[in-house]
Assembly symmetry: D2
Homo-oligomer: 309 residues x 4
C-alpha cells in the first residue's frame, strides 16, 4: 500500500484530460438564481497533501458557493463547542432518502438521522445560534483560524436568494420546532443557516480547511490540536456514510474516501494520513452531486490505487 506522491500532478493532469472533454448529462442547480448563473463548463481540482504540497488543474482558484460542504464546518464547530451532547439531538445513521425529506423526521420523532441532511444541519445551526452571541461572526472566525485565510466570507446575495426560496427549509425548521428540537426562533436559525451555505471558497481553499481531517485534528505546519482525534474520526465517518445524501454508498463504493458535496458543484474529500482534495464542476447528477466531480474522484483513487479501503 504505497503511493508515490510525485505522481499526484500526473494523475490530476490525466483526470483533467479524460474528463474535461466528456459530455455531462447533469444540470447546474437552478433553484436560486445565483447558482443558475454559474457556467456549466467550470472545472477545477486541487489536492493538498500532509507534506504541504499542492497539485491542481483548471479553475481551481475560482471561488464558488460551497453550500452543503459548509455543514462539515458547522458540525466541527458544534462538536468542538458542546461535545457529545450534540448526539442527543441528531443521529449518525445514513438516511436512505433525499437530503430534504420531511417524512424521515416524522418517523424519528424529530431527531434528524444525521447532521448532513438538511434537518440535521438545521439542528446543528440551532446549537451554534444558542452558543454564540454572534454566530455568523463566530463561524467566520472558526473558518479563518482553520485555514489561516481571513478573506473567506459570506455571499449576501446568495444568502438572500436562498432565503426568498427557502420554503422547504422553513417547513423543516418549523417541523423541528413542533418536535421541540429547535430552541431558537426559526427566523434566526435560518438566517444563520442560509449564510453558512452562502460561503464561497475555491478548490485551493477547501483542502486547506479539510486537511485537518487528514491530520488527526492537528493544524498542518503547527502543533495546534484544533479538533481531537476522536472528533476527526467521527466527522470522517459521518462524511463517508452520510456525505452524499442518497448516493453515499455509491461514493464510498466508487471512490472510497470520506467526502462532502454541495449543490454548487463542489466536492471535497479526505484521505486520512495523506491528503485533502477538492473538485468543482457545476452540473449535478440526479442525486444532486457534481457529476464530473464524482467521476474525478473515482479516477483519483483508481489511478493512485489507493483509498481508505
Amino acid at each position: 500500500m504505497k503511493i508515490d506522491v510525485t505522481d499526484y500532478q500526473k494523475i490530476l493532469n490525466q483526470i483533467q484530460q479524460e474528463l474535461s472533454g466528456t459530455k455531462v448529462t447533469g444540470r447546474v442547480a437552478s433553484y436560486v438564481p445565483e447558482l443558475a448563473k454559474v457556467p456549466a463548463d467550470k472545472f477545477g481540482m486541487h489536492l493538498y497533501n500532509l507534506e504541504g504540497e499542492s497539485f491542481c488543474f483548471g479553475d481551481s482558484d475560482e471561488c464558488f458557493s460551497i453550500q452543503s460542504i459548509s455543514k462539515v464546518f458547522s458540525l466541527a464547530l458544534a462538536m468542538k463547542m458542546i461535545g457529545n451532547t450534540l448526539w442527543k439531538r441528531v443521529g449518525v445513521e445514513p438516511s436512505g432518502a433525499k437530503f430534504n425529506s420531511l417524512s424521515l423526521l416524522e418517523d424519528n420523532f424529530g431527531i434528524p438521522r444525521n447532521p448532513f441532511i438538511n434537518a440535521g444541519a438545521l439542528v446543528v445551526a440551532d446549537v451554534l445560534v444558542s452558543y454564540f452571541s454572534d454566530p455568523k461572526a463566530a463561524f467566520l472566525t472558526f473558518l479563518h483560524e482553520l485555514t489561516g485565510n481571513d478573506t473567506i466570507t459570506y455571499n449576501e446575495t446568495v444568502a438572500a436568494s436562498e432565503k426568498s426560496e427557502g420554503y422547504r427549509n422553513f417547513a423543516m425548521a418549523n417541523y423541528l420546532k413542533s418536535f421541540g428540537n429547535m430552541k431558537n426562533d426559526v427566523e434566526d436559525v435560518l438566517d444563520f443557516y442560509f449564510h453558512q451555505c452562502s460561503i464561497t471558497m475555491s478548490c485551493r481553499e477547501l483542502p486547506q480547511a479539510f486537511i485537518v481531517f487528514a491530520n488527526q485534528g492537528q493544524l498542518l505546519g503547527s502543533d495546534r490540536q484544533f479538533l481531537t482525534g476522536q472528533q476527526v474520526k467521527r466527522i470522517n465517518a459521518l462524511m463517508l456514510t452520510c456525505g452524499f445524501y442518497d448516493e453515499a454508498g455509491e461514493f464510498s463504493f466508487e471512490v472510497g474516501l470520506p467526502g462532502k458535496s454541495g449543490v454548487g458543484g463542489g466536492i471535497v474529500a479526505v484521505h486520512p494520513g495523506h491528503y485533502a482534495v477538492a473538485v468543482w464542476s457545476p452540473p449535478l447528477n440526479p442525486k444532486g452531486n457534481s457529476e464530473r466531480g464524482m467521476a474525478s474522484l473515482e479516477r483519483l483513487t483508481t489511478l493512485t490505487g489507493y483509498s481508505i479501503f
Copy 2:
C-alpha cells in the same frame, strides 16, 4: 499514524478485562431454537495481522453460527463470478431500515438497496444458484480455498431450523420473484441461503477468511490474487456503509472499520493494510448486533488510536 503491533495482545487483554465483567442488556437471538441454546456469556476475540501474527482471548476457538457474516462471502463469490453485472440487480446504498424490511423493496421496484439486507443477500444467493450446478458445494470450496481450512461446513440442524421458521424470507423471495428479480425456484434459493447462514466458524477462523480484504485481495502468504483490488475496495466500502443494518452509521462512527455482524453474536472487521479481527458475544442490542462485540471493537480502535479515519 503509527501502531506498535507488539501492543495488540496487551490491548486485547485490556478489552477482555474491561468488558467480560460488564452487564449486557441485550438478548441472545431466539427466533430459531439452535441459536437460543448458546450461552450468553460466551466471549472471545481474535486479531490476525498482515504479518501473520495472531492475538486472542476467551472463547476464540469455539465455533458459532456466522449467520449474516456469510453474506460477505456470498457477495465476494458472486462478484468473482459475474463481475459488475451484479449491480443491475442489487444496489449499493445503506438502507436506513431494518434488515428484513419488505417495504423498502416496494419503494425500489424489486431492487434491494444493498447486498447485506436480506433481500439483497437473496438476490446474491439467486446469482450463485444460477451460476453453479451445485451451489452449496461451490460455496464450501470457495471458503476452503479462501481460508486453507477444509473443515468449514454447514450446520444442517441450524439450516433446517431457519427454514422451518423462515416465513419472512419466503415472503421476501416470493416478493423478489414478483418483481422478476429472482430467477430460480424460491425453494432452491432459500435452501442455499439457509445453508449459507448456517455455517459455523470460530473467532480464529473468521479473520483467516477476512484477511484477504485487508490485503488488497491477495491471499496472505501466497502470491495468489484471490479477488481484485477493486473488488476488495468495494466489498469493504459496502461493509462500512451497510454491514450493520440500521446501525452502520453508529459502527462507522464509533469503530471506524468496515465490518459485518451476524445474529449469532459474531462481528468481523477489517483494517485494510493492517489486520482482520473477529469478536463473539451472543447477546444482541436492539438493532440486532452483538452488544459486547460492538463495544470490543470500539475499544480496539480507540486503544490503538487507529481506524480507517
Copy 3:
C-alpha cells in the same frame, strides 16, 4: 328524495348509449393469460331492485371472472361464522395504498388495514380454511344459498393461472405467517383464495347475490334473515370506504354507493333500501378499476339524482 322506478330502464339505455361509443384509455388486466383473452369491448349492466324487477343492457348475461368482488362474499361468510372476533385479525380502515402493498402490513405489525386489500382477504380466507373442513365446497354452498343459483362455480383454469403467477400473494401469505396472522399452511390458504377469485358470474347474477346488502340482510322474496342488519351495515360501510383500493374516495365522491370492483372489469354496487347493480367492462384505469364501469355508475346516480348521500 324520490326516484321513479319506471325510469331505471330509460336511464340504463342512456348510459349504454353515452358510454359504449366512448374511447377508453385503460387496459384489460393481463397478469394472467385467462383475463388477457377477454375482449375489451364487452359492456353490460344489470340493475335489480327490491321490488324484484330487473333492468339491463348489453353483455349482461355473459359470465366473467369476478376476482376481488369475491372478497365481499368471503367476508360475509366469515362474519356469519365467527362474528366480531374477525376484527382482531383485520382492520376496518381505508389503506391509502395499492391493493397489494406489503409495506402497509409492515407498519401495522401484520394486521391488514381492511378485508378488501389482498392481505386482508388472505386473512379472511385463512379464517374460512380453519372453519370448514372443505372450504371450497362451503363457499359454493354459501353462494348457492345466497343467490338460489347452484350453477355458480370455480374456473379451474383461471385458478391455476393465478397460482402460477401469484408470487406476490405467496409473499403476502408468508409475510402474514411471519407475523402469526395466518394459521393454516400457505399453500392451502392460497389454493382457496385463488379459487375464490376464479368464480365466474354475470351482471345478471351479481345483483341477485348483492341484493341482500340492500335488504338489511334478508333474502329477497323470502323471510330468511341471511345476515344480520348490523353485518350488512358494516359490509356496506367497508365497501364504501375500502372497496376500490386507492380509489375508494373517488368512487364515493363520484358515485356515492357502497361497491366492490374486480380486475376482471366487473363492479357491483348497492343502494341500501333500493337496488343492487352490476356493470362489466374489462379495460381498467390506472388504479385497477373498470374505467367504463366507474363512469356508468356515476351516470346512474347522477341521472337518478339519488345516492346514499
Copy 4:
C-alpha cells in the same frame, strides 16, 4: 326501512343515560391552553330533523371550539366559489395516516390527499384567502347565511393560542409553498386558518348549519338552493371517507353516517334525507376523536336501526 320520528327524544334520553355515567379513558386536548381548560365531563347532544323538530340533552346549548368541524364549512364555501377547479389542488382519498402527517404530502408531490387533513384544509384556506378581499369576514357571512344566526364568531384567544403553538401548521404551509400549492403568504393563510378553527358553536347550532347537507343543498324552511345537490353529495362522501382522520373506517363501520369531528370534542353527523346531529364530549380517544361522541352516534344509529347503509 322506517324510523318513527317520535322516538328520537326517547333514544337521546337513553343515550344520555347509558353514556353519561361511563368512564372514559380519553384525554381532553391540551396542545393549546384554551382547549385544556374545558371540563372533561361536559356532554350534550342535539338532533335536528328535516321536519324542523329538535331533540336534545345535556350541555347542548353551550358553545365549544368547533376546530376541524370548520373544515366542512370552508370546503363548502370554496366549492361554492371556485367549483371543481378545487380538485386540481387537493385529492378526495382517505389518507390512511394521521391528520397532520407531512410525509403523506411528500409522497403526493404537494397535493394533499383530501380537504380534511390539515394540509388539505390549508389549501382550501389558501383558496379562500385568494378569493376574498376579507376572507375572515366572508367566512362569517357564509356561516350567518347558512344558519340564520349572526352571533357565530371567532374566539380570538383560541386563534392566538393556536398560532403561538402552531409550528406544525407553519411547517405544513411552508411545505405546501415549496411545492407551489400555496399561493398566498403563509402568515395570511394561517391567520385565516387559525381563526376558522377558533369558531365556537353549540350542539344546537351545528345541526342548523349541517341540515343543508341532509336536505340536498336547500336551506331548511326556504326555497333557497344554497349548495347544489352534487356539491352536497360530494361533501357528504368526503365526510364519510375522510372525516375522522385515521378512524374514518371505524366511524363508517360503527355509525354509518357522514360526519366530522374536531379536537374540541365535538362531532357532527348527517343522515341525508332525515336529520343532522351534533354531540359534544371533550375527552378524545387516541385517534383524536371524541370518545363519548363516537359512542353516542353509534348508539343513535343502532337504536334507530337506521344508517345510510
